[in-house]
Symmetry: D2
Amino acid sequence: MARGLIGRTGLVTELKELRELPLPPVELFVFGGHELSGVTVTEAARTFGRRAGLVTDRLLEALSGDLEAAQAEVRPGFPTGPVRSMRGEGRAAPGPRAAVAAIQEDLRSFRERHELSEVVVVNVATTEPLAEPRPEWSSLTALRAALDDDRAEVFPASMLYAYAALEAGLAYVNFTPSVGASVPALDELARARGAVHAGRDGKTGETLVKTALAPLFALRNLKVLAWEGYNMLGNPDGEALRDPKTRGAKTTSKDRSLKSILGDGVGHSSVHIDFVPSLDDWKVAFDYIHFEGFLGAKMAMQFTWQGCDSALAAPLVLDLARLAAFSHARGASGALDHCACFFKDPYGVDVHGFVAQHELLRRWAATQRDSESGGATRARAG
Amino acid sequence: MARGLIGRTGLVTELKELRELPLPPVELFVFGGHELSGVTVTEAARTFGRRAGLVTDRLLEALSGDLEAAQAEVRPGFPTGPVRSMRGEGRAAPGPRAAVAAIQEDLRSFRERHELSEVVVVNVATTEPLAEPRPEWSSLTALRAALDDDRAEVFPASMLYAYAALEAGLAYVNFTPSVGASVPALDELARARGAVHAGRDGKTGETLVKTALAPLFALRNLKVLAWEGYNMLGNPDGEALRDPKTRGAKTTSKDRSLKSILGDGVGHSSVHIDFVPSLDDWKVAFDYIHFEGFLGAKMAMQFTWQGCDSALAAPLVLDLARLAAFSHARGASGALDHCACFFKDPYGVDVHGFVAQHELLRRWAATQRDSESGGATRARAG
Amino acid sequence: MARGLIGRTGLVTELKELRELPLPPVELFVFGGHELSGVTVTEAARTFGRRAGLVTDRLLEALSGDLEAAQAEVRPGFPTGPVRSMRGEGRAAPGPRAAVAAIQEDLRSFRERHELSEVVVVNVATTEPLAEPRPEWSSLTALRAALDDDRAEVFPASMLYAYAALEAGLAYVNFTPSVGASVPALDELARARGAVHAGRDGKTGETLVKTALAPLFALRNLKVLAWEGYNMLGNPDGEALRDPKTRGAKTTSKDRSLKSILGDGVGHSSVHIDFVPSLDDWKVAFDYIHFEGFLGAKMAMQFTWQGCDSALAAPLVLDLARLAAFSHARGASGALDHCACFFKDPYGVDVHGFVAQHELLRRWAATQRDSESGGATRARAG
Amino acid sequence: MARGLIGRTGLVTELKELRELPLPPVELFVFGGHELSGVTVTEAARTFGRRAGLVTDRLLEALSGDLEAAQAEVRPGFPTGPVRSMRGEGRAAPGPRAAVAAIQEDLRSFRERHELSEVVVVNVATTEPLAEPRPEWSSLTALRAALDDDRAEVFPASMLYAYAALEAGLAYVNFTPSVGASVPALDELARARGAVHAGRDGKTGETLVKTALAPLFALRNLKVLAWEGYNMLGNPDGEALRDPKTRGAKTTSKDRSLKSILGDGVGHSSVHIDFVPSLDDWKVAFDYIHFEGFLGAKMAMQFTWQGCDSALAAPLVLDLARLAAFSHARGASGALDHCACFFKDPYGVDVHGFVAQHELLRRWAATQRDSESGGATRARAG
């Protein structure tokens, strides 16, 4: 995109209502990260190209230097969670205290090396197994105590990265259903350190459609008798979801939106996720909605969504990086409510209808435009 | 409903945000009308019961007195438009001037007979063939001149009823794709006479879904390459639509919403309507949406909607009668912008996204609640 | 049907190729049975009428005498298997030996009371939990020994009825996925006693479509990458299937056909069944088929089937009763191969393609017609 | 395929039941043809690669020599029918007599140049407008007289090629809905000249599914109330179908199969075809089937087929070339009934059910295998 090789379709920040804000341009982005699997950025791009048919050999060639540059900024991650086919050795599993310190050191050195004004940490790792909420997650004091005591059982891997980023005063985005920063203790941390966070679980497919459609039934006073959702995935995400605990994290997050929009009125609902290897990076969702109208008439609607998971997610990750960097630079702290439309399970916002969520973003953008009088700064963000 | 025999599912005015307004209760409604086909109210209810399976013999029996009372208030209509299987003879086709006078006389006598505080005229007749817009429709002066000259070619039947109602200072609602009051001249008439109007073309099925879904693509910056809609109908409406001119009226109205939400971005779109007799009162819509995302990924969504047309429409007709009567009693005049969410092609409002349209209604309701300080009057409306 | 109140749509035995055989007419049928739940025939019909909207009050009234007559021939069943909401007390659970004897006594007295030339026992009970195959099922000698020893763990309830019927030299049909007579020992018994049997698991919906469609892929040499089937049921059958063991019996039976037609070529396949109460007697199946063609092109087909379970099953039960009685009267014994088209999992026949299965029936009918030279006997069958 | 670069998925002649016949191997095929549009074989392959994403740059490169060799054997066609974007000049439109002579000369020289034992002419051109049947098509004598008189109005372009091939004693296959050899006069010609023909209209998508599914309803004695088919195409074929006359040729051919399988029992049926440019070489069909079962239960099935048109058609063209060459070499003449399964509208065969059609092919293959005793000849076919 920065090189003008592909267009900007799919980027929310390129919509008219956001384009006028001085968001950091993707041209200034520097990419790095933590990776556990040992697969390089170039290999991942090549695999995606082969599986989804969207990245041609020509494009890969034109980007080979950029992909290598990004790879040079990739550090080994920490071996927790359901990661398969691990090729590299990872770092020897440290306690949470050491892990947080190591992540922060990686972030600091990345920032200095590239002289970045903003660093945004985005969780796009494979989903963690669903963890039971812990009392320590409720207050920063308790969580800090657990960290000081190096109690590993309190910290899912996703939370370590969130903690590291927020304590360092940086921006953190959680695009997965893993816990990340979606607990009061980390929100408190963000506010205390002038950091921002947004999450969780990027809304790219079935739930996106659900939250666009469910208000139709609510606002026409139609009674939803049943909403059954069947998802088929072919990528490693789908494979990880064969583990019932991981799947639990995902389906819980997917189901919450519906309940929130339709209230107790839903007679029956369920969300299934199946791994169908031949689909590769494609995702097929079939939803059946049974509803009742006037005179007790039972009616039905069904939809099928066939989307390329990565092509739907990638532009939103760029959007969130731009919005988080910008919000942080403008002095925001804590959860970014205006980013609710990007997530299946937006932290701290009880607005789930998609149009209503976007309205939060649009209004925020209007406020930001109004508050500009002169010194708009275009930050170099990484 | 007034007798407590059926519930209120499907009524928008029973939603929390509207329930608190002192809208005229359906218990006070008196029903009458004009009918061209000679089919009685009881016969129509019985046929609907048999076709849609929703009205039991028991319900028909319990309502036999009410249906007969309504039938007693039915007057012959005026034989224009594509009306089939006409059993009664209708009135001898008069010129527009005489027709308007006769309709007004019917309305006046209906109102007096029942001592009604409000009368709402609702067009639920079979769709007229699509008429080419005429210059006389642009200004009240020109239209009045055409009426004085008794120029029949200027006045589709639907417009005669609209004219009669609005000139008499009453409320007029157009639930069909026919012209009705959806021209500047009649809006001018409404304003001049302190009358209100709302229309046109009740949004009950495919277009309802379209206008709930299309914002998803717009707000995610996804490019809609094609949106193909196929509708199958089994009731007399479907039969009338076999006439290409009538179908034209309908498909034009259905397509407009999409264009308005997605702008010029839609590569290709079409709307088909077929008459499939075995469906009876049921309506099946299949829509295929082809869209492009990041990296040029071509993705697809499809939905099927299976609804009972009359069960979806009936509660909205009650809603509109309540809202029009209430608005008129509160002193409104001209087009009722807050009723946009009920229509495929809302007059004078360029908001087509369904959630955004409902927001207009919600905000209006909030204003109405705020402006209440004491003297809320529950009107007797017919 | 016997009274001319409803038509014969859905009866396979009314097809041209079968109509010419002197099958026992439904007019001569006498109905009886064993029931565990305590629900009467009339109650069941009324409930079905209310849930599926197909049996009107008028029809129930016209049949009240017949339903009561059938009810008079209903005997309490034996309390085994996952039967819920049992209202009656059942007989005190006897050992298998006593149960077989009691069932046979019921059958004998039923037959004598009505002077029936043929009696067909049809299993239409709720599906049993999937039982692990037992060595005793493999030979009649071993099974008889287990019965003599009264070893209850060897005999699922469905097998007791099958044993009782076949040993008495009668016809037995298993319309459920339960074991019934689908084991070598019972086939041996049938042959030894001049009895006939047919089963198992009536093919009424998703599997019917699957076995009609799968040959398309096989015969066009298209590679099926994935075939995912999702079933939603609302009736008590669906409720029983919430028990994973019961569901196992069903999905195994549903999946077998596909494997048989497509061989090892299927990359991935699964069958899901969900209980969706609002569907009542309706069944919705959604299947997604991912397949590969020339040049590695990945293509997809999907279908949705919305059927009334009982309305699809009932005529097939009549068909099977007619065919089993006729075949038995004509001297057949053992499994009725020509009835394979009625079952998801036909015993002893490895033809699963639906058209090919029907061809077995058509050819059998041709043979039967040819072999008729005079003495066609119309049996009185119960 | 001949070079081992792609597999044989999608070829019917590679099924077990046909693989054992000594059909001419694709390795011996030589390709040539007539083309009107001026687009070269290489350009067409490149365009298809870009549009359908199935032909990679690498494959095109590996085949560049082969494509050029094929192009060297392409001769200009005759400018008739609805051909758009014609780039070459074509030959000056000759009368039918001269056209037939010229085509025959092209075929003769092609055959000699490559020393081919068999030549198969396959019509894969854009569909012609539907022509009214003419009396001259009914007898060879009448058709010959019309040719002698050079009466152009008697000969659609497709018929000229068919006439030329058959009169030269060659094999002719019509993969399009155009007339080709599907008239008695040309069948007579084939028989007289020891030539073979097969057609018409390759069955690759919606009709394939229809003819696999329709027997399900017929053989279960379910009454089809309505079968509505909606097709969306993006390739030049779809564009040509915007012409209502061309579309007529196609929809007639598609509808015939259904009527044949279901008889007069179909309450309502229709076939729509729309041009949806963004689909490129992909074809989406949506069919809605409304049917009635026992107790008058109205049920529904729907399916969506998403296929790559060319990837579905190409292997069948190879199959037909192999089968036609083989049948001809074995001494067949006239219509090849055993090829009915390849066509929507098989000439002279009233078997439309797909499985039953394939059975004709399987049985023929069995006969051919049995009749082999020694001298199987592998012909060099072009």
